[in-house]
């Protein structure tokens, strides 16, 4: 039984790692205050789930999730090209509200608040990942590959340019850099990986509904990204592990689940406020939060 629980934790943490490092890429590395990240998670989850439920293979569903999330990321980025700071934050937050409203109301497609049950586990080249242990390997490899790709990009000259755009966009432009394009690419990458996380999430839980994709889900993500340290991928991974595991430990304190949920949120909110005050740079961050 312990084994099953540990496998569950590893899967959960791995999915969240993909979700949070992708947010770090746009938030900490590129300086884009994207508060709508959860929307891409949801778009990825629903795209993947709908395709799987229509009989398409997992590879197609997964790729489509990546693509759709990236597409919307690109659209949102192009629309918000002229915005920065607060305005960008609020507009991206507004986007996540719109996405949620669509998920809840477009009943013919998303089944509204009732959600989509019975999402099949992945089958890749004939191998069924219905066993949680097998699925764990799938998710962990996805997380490793995602980390590797994002690490490659952020430690390359392109990553350097992201940092320059974050630190002083005007100066970057004065050096001949097309920062608008760079910001869009960052946004798209960020959204793509959120979509990947969404696809894996949908296939793991086998049931999704809009309530997993409200802006409340943003709080642990923001907390992770800030506490781990802005522009630090390793810090983000460490923070994900800690932040996801803490509430799990709370289970053992023996509180009823009706109490566990709100306490978890209150804990996150408090820690976030504390971090904003005491260590806005986070633990491994190289960049100040602005």
């Amino acid at each position: 039984m312990i084994e099953a629980y540990l496998i569950h934790l590893v899967i959960l943490v791995s999915i969240y790692i993909i979700l949070s490092i992708s947010l770090q890429v746009s938030f900490g590395f590129s300086g884009l205050l994207n508060l709508g990240h959860v929307a891409f998670f949801g778009i990825g989850a629903y795209t993947s789930a709908l395709l799987l439920l229509s009989g398409f293979s997992f590879i197609i569903a997964f790729s489509a999730a990546l693509f759709m999330a990236g597409l919307f990321g690109g659209l949102l980025s192009i629309l918000t090209r002229k915005l920065a700071g607060d305005y960008l934050a609020l507009t991206t937050l507004g986007f996540s509200f719109v996405t949620y409203a669509v998920l809840i109301n477009w009943k013919s497609v998303t089944n509204g608040p009732l959600g989509l049950p019975g999402i099949p586990r992945p089958e890749i080249f004939g191998f069924m990942f219905s066993n949680n242990l097998a699925f764990m390997f799938l998710v962990v490899s996805s997380a490793l590959v995602s980390y590797f790709i994002l690490h490659k990009i952020t430690s390359s000259p392109f990553g350097r340019l992201m940092g320059a755009t974050r630190d002083n966009e005007l100066a970057s432009q004065s050096l001949g850099k097309n920062t608008k394009k760079l910001k869009t690419i960052s946004f798209v990458i960020s959204a793509c990986f959120a979509g990947v996380a969404g696809s894996l999430f949908a296939s793991y839980i086998t049931f999704i509904d809009p309530s997993s994709f409200t802006f409340v889900a943003l709080i642990p993500l923001l907390l992770i990204v800030i506490i781990g340290g802005l522009a630090s991928l390793p810090g983000t991974v460490l923070a994900t592990i800690i932040i996801i595991l803490i509430p799990e430990l709370l289970r053992f304190v023996g509180l009823p689940s009706s109490v566990l949920g709100p306490i978890r949120q209150m804990l996150f909110a408090t820690i976030l406020l504390a971090i904003l005050y005491y260590m806005p740079r986070g633990f491994y961050g190289k960049v100040d939060l602005e």
Binding site: F158, R166, Q173, S174, L175, K177, K181
Partner: protein, 243 residues
């Protein structure tokens, strides 16, 4: 090389630049001077593409550049130093400088697949200019930790590394100590001898008069005098404007 024609710019109800026209000769150092509020920085911002003109034209090497984006203008060969520090504060000095010469950094796929290896040639160029500016020691320090003078030097180095034919410098020696000021003067004269055209704004009159080939005087957004340092020194209109 650079022609400003009837440039006009309003900010709210105020005419910051008022029907301003002048020309910059290739290969020379020209200074734009004038009392505070005379529109000098606005003219620079118009040239760089940061601010849109309300009227007039800016012609660079026979090509109209007003209305183009900031990065396009930079890529046409205009390189700029800003009045306030514009270094990338979380990046190291080396990274700040590499950005100026690595145009491959914008290519996403190349970078993802590791095809944009950091050119040893580029790193060498950076080392060379660090050596020339005598700031090799701070190569790996984050830009935020530098002293004011060091920052100015790094900014100048970055602007010089950025491929250019025209350098526009907004108060390059403001607030730096005399040693660094002399140093910057030396660097600028060296660049001129290599064929670079320089346009600068400065309030330090000694510096300006000693380094410039030509001076343009602005007052209330209009050109009130142009000429050599000697001519300007004795010009009554100029003296009046500054008093």
């Amino acid at each position: 090389m650079l022609k400003i024609k009837k440039l006009t710019k309003y900010f709210g109800g105020v005419k910051a630049v008022n029907n301003c026209s002048f020309e910059i000769e290739k290969g020379k150092i020209t200074a734009l001077i004038g009392p505070n509020g005379s529109g000098k920085s606005t003219v620079f911002n118009c040239i760089s593409g940061i601010v849109k003109l309300d009227d007039g034209e800016i012609i660079f090497k026979d090509k109209k550049i007003n209305g183009l984006s900031i990065d396009t203008i930079s890529n046409l060969g205009i390189s700029r130093v800003f009045q306030t520090s514009s270094l990338f504060k979380n990046l190291t000095v080396q990274e700040n400088l590499l950005l100026a010469i690595d145009s491959g950094d914008q290519k996403f796929w190349k970078n993802l697949f590791g095809l944009n290896k950091v050119d040893t040639k580029k790193e060498k160029l950076v080392d060379e200019i660090l050596k020339k500016m005598e700031i090799t020691a701070i190569k790996n320090k984050p830009a935020s930790s530098l002293s004011f003078g060091q920052k100015r030097l790094v900014e100048l180095a970055r602007t010089i590394l950025n491929p250019h034919e025209l350098l526009i410098l907004d108060e390059p020696v403001a607030g730096v100590n005399p040693k660094i000021r002399k140093f910057i003067e030396k660097i600028l004269l060296e660049m001129k001898s290599k064929g670079t055209t320089i346009l600068l704004i400065e309030h330090d009159m000694t510096f300006t008069l000693s380094i410039s080939d030509s001076i343009i005087v602005l007052d209330a957004g209009k050109v009130i005098a142009t000429g050599t340092p000697a001519e300007i020194r004795g010009n009554e209109k100029v003296l009046e404007a500054y008093l």
